[in-house]
Structure formats: structure tokens, C-alpha cells
Amino acid sequence: MFNGGGVNDFVVRFANVNGTGSASANTMFAKSIFRMGVPVSAKNIFPSNIQGLPTWYEVRVNGNGYLGRREGIDLMVCTNPQSMDQDLKNTREGGYFLYDSTWPLANEKRRDDLNYLEIPLMELSSKNFTDPRFRQLFKNIIYVGALSALLNIDKNVIVGLLEDQFPGKAKVVESNVKALDLGINYAKENWKCPLHFYASPMEATKGKIMIDGNTSCAIGAVYGGATVMAWYPITPSTSVADGFEEYAKQLRVDPVTGKNKFAIIQAEDELAAIGVVIGANWNGARAFTATSGPGVSLMNEFLGLAYFAEIPTVLIDVQRAGPSTGMPTRTQQADITSAFYASHGDTKHVLLFPSTPFECFEMTATAFDLAERLQTPIMVMTDLDLGMNDHVSEPLTWDPERKYDRGKVFNAEDLDRVERFGRYLDVDDDGITYRTLPGTHPTKGSFFTRGTSRDEYAKYTEDGAVYARNMERLIRKWNTAKTLVPPPEFYNDTRPAEIGLLFFGTTTDSALEAMASMRKEDILVDAMRLKAAPFSQSVIDFIFDHEVVFVIEQNRDGQMRSILINELEIDPQRLKAVLNYDGMPITAANILRQIYNHIPQPQSASVQTI
């Protein structure tokens, strides 16, 4: 029988029809738990479609703060007859199945090992609300009410959320509360409330925010000084552009003239978007684009230009499941090879890997500094899970003293001081050379930027030795990059461990949960989270300090593992691949299953029910 769940430890999945307004009710549910101070994560599992198809919303509540996806649905809330068969199947043994009993479930469909919570949502809504436009919406609020009773969610918190959502609209709030009460009362009258798992107030989310990664990237771009954004719509990156527009309109309009201190170009495609970004950066503005895999593929040629002509470029890749159009509404970390090596010829690019909304904010801002410092593309590799789902995060912070690093740019005075300006002259021996911006000086410092080979003074050349010298300088710059990118974060045991876990981005939540589980089993294990490629010395050290390192990532081909091997010249045997590539966020149980294929599984560890 049922053996999962407990106080502040359960998973609820909502099964809805997309385009029916369930999203806001579901978000309210998750947010109410957050406001109760309890760690919670919510994942939208939506179709590549606008209206009428099944969509799911999965909420994990975990008092210990393990917020990666967890297998096993404790409570299924099903309002979609289309997906009901599937939803029945996906509920864990002994779990609860709440559904709209306006249309009762046929006996032959019922699983014996589930507990049914039947509530006539549509009937209740229709009876109590006359305006047909609202019936659908209030149906959703009714189930939120029922859940609040079942899971001990403070009604006042929900009412607070409604008040925040509809400021000054008491009437609307009132109707919503009415719907809420319908649910609460129905639940209390018909079921034993609460269930044996439920939410209980904590202080764990105090001071934190709940925000999606794309919005955080967008705010990061505003604070990071982006003035030009160019983009082309593509799921799951679109909301980065939306967010940038929203916050720029709030924060970057000149109060006196009403004019904009930013320009957003919705380009005709991704090739144009990256072209705009390169043109703007060449001309001294901080500019960026946001896209997903197919966009990165299309940007290949331009990324090679930016690498070779050394133009700062910031690209946010919100990864989705590839290849090709793949599963556009599912998550993966599968553009790593594509982004790292983007373009023909000998090219390598700097990648950043945020794993929380806070880091989306921070790394987006940092990407502009790095791009201008290194004069090369910087790609922020986020993904659908991080980008489009709300996550509990540290609040965003910005040191008012913080100055942008605009990199090596000669102004008119600098030019007057130098005898002869050499655009590609490595005067500081770090591989990074000085650039000038158009319009700087009447007679000095102008040069021709090109994707063809040139000498230290930017003069076109087909001389092989000069070409090779330049290519070697780019390697020197690459080595400098290793010292400038954010170093990894370590989660090491106090005692020496032979096993290391290595992960990055959205794999972090589940990897840390897996680590905790191993430690509980007295397995000594260290962990390192990559924040960037190329890799600093500490990455090498970590790998060589451990007998075996598990590289956990969400793609089929172990892309990060290959890059680690290539960049660090490591024997592949040291690195074991732990992979998930079905488009759903990786779980701790899955990680453990794969790790225990390589090391002895402790007796007590039940990877099923972590």
C-alpha cells in the first residue's frame, strides 16, 4: 500500500487541458505552499500546441529542500478526460486520484490500488456561477480549495495571493474566494482532511523568491547593461525577450523625455538576430539574443565570425529536447556540443551554466562583462526546466558599486598615446588585444573587421605563418578565459571521498538529492557543480582527486563528459556517464540507479522511493 509522502513531502500532479486557464490556478497552488515557507517546485509539462491538448503541472513539496523532479505521483488532480487513462496509470500505487466526478469514472477503468477523491467540479461551478465565461476558470479554483483542505494549506495565504493578483478588484477576489470555499467545504464534508501527507508551515523559503529562469535572465540583462536585444520567437526562449521588454519598459525609460534607453529588434530569423547582436557589440553597445537549439544551429556561421573577428556576443540558449524540432516543449541539456564547437573551422566557445534563477540573473549580467573582456561569444546555457518553470531562488541582488567590465577598448586619448595601434597585437600577453569603436578618433585606430585572416594590424593576409600565429593567440585567449569564468562550486564531504559527482545546470537539484541519499548510506562522496566551460584548474584537480567521477547530464551522448575529456585530456574511464534524455527533468532515483550500476548498491538504499 501507500508508503510515500508525509508532512511536507509529496508530489501533486495536475492534469488539465491547455488553453483553459488552469495555469494560473495551479501556480497559485504552488505559490501558496511557497508562502507557507515550505520548499516547493513546479514543473509545467505542456504540449507544443495552443489549445485543447493535455497539459500537466507537477508540484513537488519537500521540506528538506530537494526540489528536483521526483518519480511517483502521490496525488493526481485530473480534470482532463482525454488524458485520464494515462493519469490513472501514472499515479503511484496507493496514491490519491482526485477527479471531476461530474462525469464519473467507469468501474472498469479504476485501479484497485488507488484512493479516489471524487468531486463534481463542473457541476459545482455551473451551479454557483452564472456567467459561462467564468465557469471554466472557477472550476479550477474549486479544486484549489479542495486541495487546500486536503493538504492543510492555509486559506488566508491563498486569499492573499488572490488579493495580490487582483489589486483593488474586491469583487473578483470575492468570487474567487467563493469558489475556493466551495472546494474547501466539499472536501471537508466528503473526505477525511487532511490526508496523511500535507503541508506544514516552515521558514525555509523566507526571504526567497519564486521566479522562472527566463525572467531572471531578462532582469539580468537589464542590470547587465544590455541596450540592444534582437531575437526571433522560439519556445522555450521567448519569455526572455518578453521579460526584457517588460522590465526595460519599467526601468529604462527616460523619465523626462519618455524615450527608451534600449532597442528591441524582433528579427526576421535567428541569423538576423545574431547578426544584429554582433553589429551592435561591434559598435560598442551591450547586445544579446535568446534562442533555443534550432536557433543556435542557424547561428553557427555568425558565431564563427564573432569568434574569429573577436566581437563580444551574448547568447542565451534555453535548451529544449532535440535534435531538429525534437520535443520543443520538453527539457534537455543537449546543445552543449553544438554550442561549444559552433561553426566550421577550429572554434571553441565560452559557455556558462546557471542552475538557479539567481544565477540566470547573475550570469546573464556577467556574460556581458566576459564577452567584452574576452571579445568573443559567451553563451548562457539554460534550459526549458530552468527557464520556464518557477523555482525557489535567492532574491536577486546587485551591488550598487558594481562597475561593468567593458574590456580592452582604446578611446581617443589612448590612441593618441600609442604609437601605432594594432588591433590584434597581443601587448598584454593574455591573448586579448585592444579594440576601438567606430567614430572614436579622426585619424587613428580605425581598422577593418573581417572574418578572413589578417595580421596584428588588421591587414588582410594569406600568409600561413601570420594566420597560425593568430590562431595560437586565440588559444592563449582561451587559456585566459579559463581564469576568468566563474569557478565551479564544491559540495565536498569533510572526509576524503573516492567518488565524485559532477553536474551543472538543472541537474543540480536531483544530483544533490542523490548525493544526500548516498551519504545517508555512508558512502563517501564529493560533488562539483560546473558553472562554465572552459574549465579552471580546480576542475581538473577535482577529477584527479577522485577514483571515479560520475558526470550527470541530460542528453544522450554525454556531451559535457566528452568536452571534459577533450579539454582536460582525461582518460574516459575516470568519467562515468549518468544520463537522462527523455525530455523530463532528471530525478535523484534515476541518478542513483545509474550510479549503483557502477558501485555496489548499499543494502538499505531504495532508489525507488527516495
Binding site: T227, L437, S446, F448
Partner: protein, 350 residues
């Protein structure tokens, strides 16, 4: 390339209003084929910029890839230049213009660069009404890859390869008009007198200005059977009018008989004076320009001159309502919102 023009100064070294010599607008020695039309266009750009008295370093030159796209090396050495990738100059130019509205932008492209691989970006830079002069050096072929037909080659035209073009040709001026361009002109590399005032007018135009310049490829497409040859264009050139560019400061002296002349005021106060107007054509009427092009093409004529101008279409900075100071000059104090802002953002996500 590695050759420098001898740095001697013309004997009667005239200076412009800013005190610059023509020399200050020149570029490196050309490495194009002797006689290539593109070199004449470079010369016209040099002359126009000199006469307009634009400080050379306040101009930015952007191009794609091709013989034509190489030319920015051969003019305006004191300007920054960007030889980007094939067919994508319009997007790079868009970024550059967005970053700094205070410079003058000259984009150079070829017919391959614009009408084939660059067709999409071309259409959209027109639509965006980017504030730039866009010069197509149109030779009906891909010069740099050795003379294949381009999409502007006319049906039946035959270059050095000896095979007549079979697909219908794209008229870039007609296309720009269809796409809503506010300044459309056509000219001929061999007609400096016509070309220079058009370049000046195009630079002065506040918005996107296209000049489609027929520019014979002497190496691959200058045969007697080519409609983009020097001789063919010279012999079949028709003009809509004679255009004269009059800078802001000059007074307009009506030396041409009235009725035949049309005066167009540009945003920067300068004026284009058109005389000897073709009949049935009105530079301010898009449809008349489209019809004139269509009819000329049908007769195998090459219609040149200013084809259409509308000085009032808002360019992209006006559309996007950007601040007056160039975006690339904004510093932290202008860009970073104040501390409270982040607090209230955080609060909105609690």
C-alpha cells in the same frame, strides 16, 4: 591588400568645409580587376563623402562578401569597416545603427550578396527602414566565385560562361519599392555625374536609402550578350530625371525652367532638385515609380536616377523611440536601475 597608394597630395589640394582633403576619404589600393565597375563606385563614394564634409571617422562601412563587399577597404580608410559574412550585412548594419545613431552608415553589397543569400535580410532591412545608405554593386553575376549568374541577371543575358540565364530576374529597385522603401534610386558605375548626387542624397535621407548601381564585371559579365555589360547599360540607360543634391546651407537658385523641376526637402535641411522629369513619373508617387520601372524593363531599358523618395517615413530609431544619446554611450548610471527597483522586483516574486 598589402599595397599602399603613394601618399602624395593632389597638386591643387582642395579641402572641404571641415578642412579635409579628398585624400582623407580614400582607402587602400584596390585589388579588383582593372576596369571593374565597383572601383568607380568606390570613387564616387569618396567624392560624395568628401563633398558632404562628413568627418571620415564618423562614417561606418559595412559589407557582406564578394568583390563588391571588398570595396570598403578601398575607400574611407579612416572609417571603421566591417566585412561580415555573405548576405548578412543588413543584420550587422541593423545592430550597428541601433548601437549608435550618431554615425553615418554606408552598407555595400553585391547582387549575389543581396538578391540571393541576402534576400531575406534585404527585405527586412527595408521594412525596418534602417537609417543607412545601402549600395548594391550590381553586375548580374557572382564575381568573386568566378562569374555564375546571379538572381539579377536578365532572362537571356549571357556572360562569359556562355549559357543564357533562364530564370526571371529580380529588380532590386522594384522590390524595394514593393517592400515600402522610402528612398530608391538606380544608377550606373559609369555615370559619375548621376551617381555622386544620388549617393549624397541617399546619405542625407533619414531612413533606408537604396541605390542599385549597375556595375559591370569586366572579367565575367561584360560580353556583348550580357545586359549588365558596360556597353549595354550605357546604351539602354534611361533616366527619370536629373538629380542635383543641394546641401542645407546652399541657396537654391532656380536655374531650370519651372514646371520641369521638382524640389524635395530632406530631413537634414538639404534639398534634392530634380529636373528634366520623365513624363508620367512623380518621385513622390510610389506607384508611378513602380510602373516606370516595369515599363522600362519590358522594353529592355535600364531606368536610372532617383526613382522614389519619401522623406517622412520614420526610421527605426524614431519607431522604437530611443533616447537621443547613442545607446553605446550610456553608462552604468543610466543603465542600472536604482536599488529600490530590484527590491520591488523581488517583492513581486515573493
Amino acid at each position: 591588400m598589402s599595397y599602399k597608394r603613394p601618399a602624395f597630395r593632389h597638386p591643387a589640394a582642395a579641402t572641404n568645409e571641415l578642412g579635409f582633403h579628398q585624400k582623407d576619404y580614400e582607402g587602400a589600393m584596390s585589388t579588383l580587376c582593372a576596369g571593374c565597375g565597383h572601383d568607380s563606385i568606390s570613387a564616387a563614394i569618396i567624392q560624395a563623402c568628401f563633398e558632404l564634409s562628413i568627418p571620415p571617422h564618423r562614417i561606418a562601412k559595412i559589407s557582406g562578401i564578394g568583390c563588391s563587399s571588398k570595396t570598403p577597404t578601398y575607400f574611407l580608410s579612416n572609417s571603421h569597416g566591417f566585412n561580415s559574412v555573405h548576405g548578412r550585412m543588413p543584420s550587422v548594419a541593423t545592430g550597428a545603427v541601433m548601437a549608435n545613431k550618431s554615425l553615418t552608415y554606408i552598407g555595400v553589397s553585391g547582387d549575389g550578396d543581396t538578391a540571393s543569400i541576402g534576400m531575406g535580410q534585404f527585405a527586412h532591412v527595408v521594412r525596418r527602414n534602417l537609417n543607412m545608405l545601402y549600395v548594391v554593386m550590381n553586375n548580374g553575376c557572382y564575381g568573386l566565385t568566378k562569374g555564375q549568374d546571379s538572381a539579377t541577371a536578365d532572362v537571356g543575358s549571357m556572360g562569359k560562361a556562355g549559357v543564357a540565364t533562364m530564370f526571371s530576374s529580380i529588380d532590386l529597385a522594384g522590390l524595394a519599392l514593393e517592400l515600402g522603401a522610402g528612398f530608391v534610386a538606380r544608377s550606373f558605375s559609369g555615370d559619375k555625374d548621376q551617381l555622386i548626387p544620388l549617393i549624397k542624397a541617399g546619405i542625407s535621407h533619414d531612413g533606408f536609402a537604396l541605390i542599385d548601381v549597375l556595375s559591370p564585371c569586366v572579367t565575367f559579365n561584360n560580353t556583348t550578350t550580357s545586359t549588365k555589360s558596360y556597353t549595354y547599360v550605357r546604351d539602354h540607360m534611361e533616366t527619370t530625371s536629373i538629380a542635383d543634391y543641394v546641401p542645407e546651407k546652399s541657396e537654391i537658385t532656380a536655374s531650370v525652367a519651372p514646371g520641369e523641376t521638382k524640389v524635395i526637402e530632406m530631413h537634414d535641411g538639404s534639398v534634392i532638385r530634380l529636373s528634366s522629369l520623365a513624363s508620367g513619373w512623380d518621385p513622390a508617387d510610389r506607384l508611378s515609380a513602380k510602373n516606370a520601372i516595369y515599363n522600362a524593363n519590358k522594353k529592355g531599358e535600364v531606368l536610372t536616377g532617383l526613382l522614389y523618395v519619401n522623406a517622412d517615413q520614420p526610421e527605426v530609431h524614431r519607431i522604437l523611440n530611443t533616447v537621443d544619446v547613442p545607446l553605446n554611450e550610456l553608462k552604468e548610471d543610466q543603465l542600472v536601475p536604482d536599488a529600490d527597483a530590484l527590491e520591488s522586483i523581488n517583492a513581486s516574486f515573493m
